[in-house]
């Protein structure tokens, strides 16, 4: 029973955020208008992506210290699922940008940082595919993941604070807590974040099980 609780919670939280997010009261704001509801979907995608990349990073470190093939499997699959959430984050963000900033893509440090993160992990999978030998592949990709993740942190967390960004919380724009998240929105936003992170972990769990089954069947 306990094994299902967090999955039930994930489903309920996401359904709640869908219903409450689309029907609930939101502040009337110029330019943003009704698109402000996108915050319940766009931002959780990034949080989930970061959470999964963190899982991938932790398992890469674990692999280097213990050389267990299972850790490598988790690291790779977490990065794969994180990529899916990252693409979803980019798409929801592009849609939002089209209706508020007027273009599908704007030259903004956060956008460029997230696009570069996608490129890094695409490179990570190219590296994985180009090494046939399993142990070597695991070791090299773990090293690359740790190295690149550390640099991406600088890209996403530090650089935007040095320049202007259209996103809230950077370069003189107020952080989003201070102006557009009133208490009604918080009541939807935080459950949405928690729900989507749990869904991400759930997908990860299924992926890992599938891969393990594939491995045993093929041998």
């Amino acid at each position: 029973m306990m094994r299902y609780v967090w999955k039930i919670a994930a489903a309920l939280l996401v359904y709640y955020s869908l219903v409450a997010g689309l029907t609930g009261e939101v502040p009337r704001m110029a330019i943003l208008n009704e698109t402000i509801r996108n915050i319940y979907f766009h931002v959780p995608m990034w949080f989930t992506m970061m959470a999964l990349f963190l899982v991938s990073l932790i398992y890469s470190l674990k692999y280097l210290s213990g050389s267990s093939p299972d850790h490598d499997l988790v690291a790779a699959e977490a990065a794969r699922v994180a990529m899916v959430f990252g693409i979803a984050g980019l798409l929801t963000g592009m849609l939002w940008a089209r209706f508020t900033w007027g273009a599908w893509w704007v030259n903004d440090t956060k956008l460029n940082g997230s696009a570069a993160t996608m490129l890094v992990y695409a490179a990570y999978f190219i590296l994985r595919n180009s090494v046939p030998e399993k142990q070597k592949r695991a070791r090299l990709s773990a090293v690359y993941a740790i190295f690149s993740f550390s640099l991406m942190i600088v890209f996403i967390m530090v650089l935007p604070r040095l320049t202007d960004s259209l996103h809230p919380g950077n370069g003189g724009n107020p952080a989003f807590g201070s102006y557009d998240l009133d208490s009604r929105m918080r009541a939807v936003f935080y459950p949405a974040v928690a729900g989507w992170i749990l869904v991400g972990l759930w997908i990860l769990q299924i992926r890992i099980r599938t891969r393990k089954l594939e491995n045993t069947v093929s041998i």
Binding site: L64, N112, A116, L119, V120, A123, I126, L127, S130, V131, Q135, K136, R139, L140, A142, V143, Y144, I146, F147, S148, S150, L151, M152, V154, F155, V158, L159, L162, T163
Partner: protein
């Protein structure tokens, strides 16, 4: 420590003996600059001047450092493996590649000024950016070239792996040198300087810690 200097010395001697590799990189830079000169004719925009310069340097760096671990024979690797610490090897490589990159970037700056004119207001500040950019590029590319060579793959893997992770460094150094071109005071550029320094420190520390694992592979 002595081993590191011996290794750096050995690299320099080797490089000097096969002059074709080093002169290859120089010819590469000169011809790229010459192509840009012919393509652009008149470069009036300082921003484009700066961006183009760093892009030329980026490609030169990938070319120059890519061979770092690839040209080594199996026998030489075994020799290193049995007599040296991996940490000594990587530090020596980073030092050597930084020196190489600094020389290349200074020379490129010279050629670039000859062909496309000098638009830099604060030359010492620009040179500092050049130095920090060169060492940063060298350190990142050294580790990536170690990964790429162990993956048994060519220059294309090197480019795919290194370009996205060079972006933070590239963007910071482009901003830093743009401010130097405009002749802004140090106080404007200090945050960028700080980011550049810490990126260099971060990359070198990570390379130092992670290289032993590649070494074993």
């Amino acid at each position: 420590m002595r081993n590191i200097f011996t290794l750096v010395g050995k690299e320099i001697t080797l490089e000097w003996r096969n002059k074709y590799a080093l002169s290859g990189v120089f010819i590469y830079v000169i011809s790229t600059i010459f192509i840009c000169y012919n393509a652009f004719r008149q470069m009036i925009d300082p921003q484009a001047w700066n961006a183009l310069f760093w892009i030329i340097l980026l490609f030169a760096a990938v070319n120059a450092v890519a061979k770092s671990f690839m040209q080594e024979t199996r026998g030489l690797q075994l020799f290193y493996y049995s007599f040296l610490d991996p940490q000594q090897v990587i530090l020596a490589r980073i030092v050597y590649n930084s020196v190489l990159m600094t020389v290349i970037s200074l020379a490129s700056f010279g050629f670039y000024t000859v062909f496309l004119g000098n638009l830099v207001a604060d030359v010492p500040m620009f040179l500092l950016g050049l130095l920090l950019g060169s060492t940063g590029f060298a350190a990142v590319l050294t580790l990536v070239s170690a990964i790429a060579s162990r993956a048994g793959n060519s220059a294309s893997l090197m480019a795919v792996l290194s370009f996205p992770i060079l972006l933070p460094l590239l963007i910071t150094v482009i901003r830093f040198s743009r401010n130097a071109m405009e002749g802004f005071s140090w106080s404007v550029n200090n945050p960028h300087l700080l980011v550049l320094l810490s990126l260099n420190a971060l990359v070198i520390a990570l390379a130092y810690l992670l290289f032993p694992y590649i070494w074993k592979a």
